[in-house]
Symmetry: C2
Subunit: 215 residues, 2 copies
DNA sequence: TCATGTGAAGGAATTCACAGCG
DNA sequence: CGCTGTGAATTCCTTCACATGA
């Protein structure tokens, strides 16, 4: 019996749902209709106990003694992640990274649409990138209203990220993905996810140094 | 008294060290010479207790009743992260993202150098990107040897990521940063950090959906 | 019988609150 | 006295191991 739980899903579990969904879509693409917690966990890079525990927070989707139906489990996770509704994105900062993000093809297999691009440089404002005309960041609030933007991606230098975040939050956005290596100060009801490439490399450097020290 | 600890630093702590280092460098750039756990924590987006606990795993760097010397704490974290040695990077996959990463200027303020670029498409092999000539990925093992590459960045589609990872690991690389949305299978002594932009957006979508459901 | 789903146990990370030291 | 450094308490997450039910 399928039953969705209440709203209490651990953050760590939410963070893994995209991996499960990815693995399920891969399985579906391979024509696999039925899977097990062992197989799905292996493809997702977690333990089978972890996978089952995670799914238990969302409800009960499998058949004991059998496994999980790939299609239907994918559907449930899709719904749980809120991917059945369209999410309209604006990207602020059309430098190297912003360009790449604007052109990023498979936005996690639909659900996301880039509807606005903004920048502060007159070099790019007015140009078209990925079929969208770049507008000046000073009009960010208006653009967000006009395009009904619900998520903003910040691909800009750390020193201006906070100002843009303030403007974006003021315009009603509650979900931000930031590539700027700064801790953004936002109200409690705003969710910020941060991706820091430099930081990731530093973490790898730490492991390299630890390995070297162990010799 | 400054004393470095043994090699047991929690993974969660390691993940935050880059934020502390960033905040310290900002402070130094502003001409601040002395800081407190409260100030530094605020700029890093963590609690002051968290910061002090994290630092305690590395050693003892502050002065009770006073605070931390910005320069020297930055130095210690730099050493702890292994950033005093040069790290030679290869980027595999010179698409939109690979381009952006190759041109990414401040590689976390030095310590990292892009010494090789590889791709499988004849459209880009042979071209120069960020002063480096793109080579064919089939020669990845040779390139890694020749350029003494110690870290590899994978900016390529999920379906080929595992093959390249295998080749790269076979050539002796033990640190990988992957932008491919797949769980790479690697030996225990290889460290893989994964950045999944699509996944981050899905996590934001989950929060948006949860918010909507709460109304 | 077999793999799911889940209480219970165990481990890790965070927070608390204060001892310790300049 | 003030702020660091840290045991203790708490909370959160993961793993275990088995009851459950198709």
């Amino acid at each position: 019996m399928v039953e969705l739980s209440d709203g209490t899903v651990p953050a760590a579990t939410v963070g893994r749902l995209p991996y499960y969904l990815r693995a399920l879509r891969d399985l579906a693409a391979e024509g696999v209709g039925l899977t097990s917690s062992t197989e799905l966990a292996e493809r997702s890079g977690v333990s089978s106990a972890q996978l089952r525990k995670d799914l238990s927070y969302l409800g009960s989707f499998g058949t004991r003694g059998v496994g999980y139906d790939v299609e239907s489990l994918a559907s449930y996770i899709t719904v749980a992640l809120g991917l059945e509704t369209e999410h309209r994105l604006a990207i602020v900062g059309i430098g190297n990274l912003g360009h790449a993000l604007a052109n990023y093809s498979g936005y996690a297999t639909r659900g996301f649409q880039v509807v606005a691009l903004l920048d502060a440089s007159s070099d790019v404002v007015g140009t078209r990138v990925a079929d969208v005309t770049v507008e000046h960041v000073r009009g960010v609030a208006e653009v967000i209203q006009r395009e009904r933007v619900s998520m903003v991606v910040l691909a800009l230098p750390g020193n201006v990220a906070q100002d843009v975040a303030d403007a974006v939050v003021g315009a009603g956005v509650r979900e931000i993905l930031s590539f700027a290596p700064v801790a953004l100060q936002v109200p409690d009801d705003v969710v910020v996810r941060s991706v820091d490439v430099g930081g990731e490399l530093q973490i790898l450097a730490f492991h390299a140094a630890t390995r070297a020290a162990a010799l």
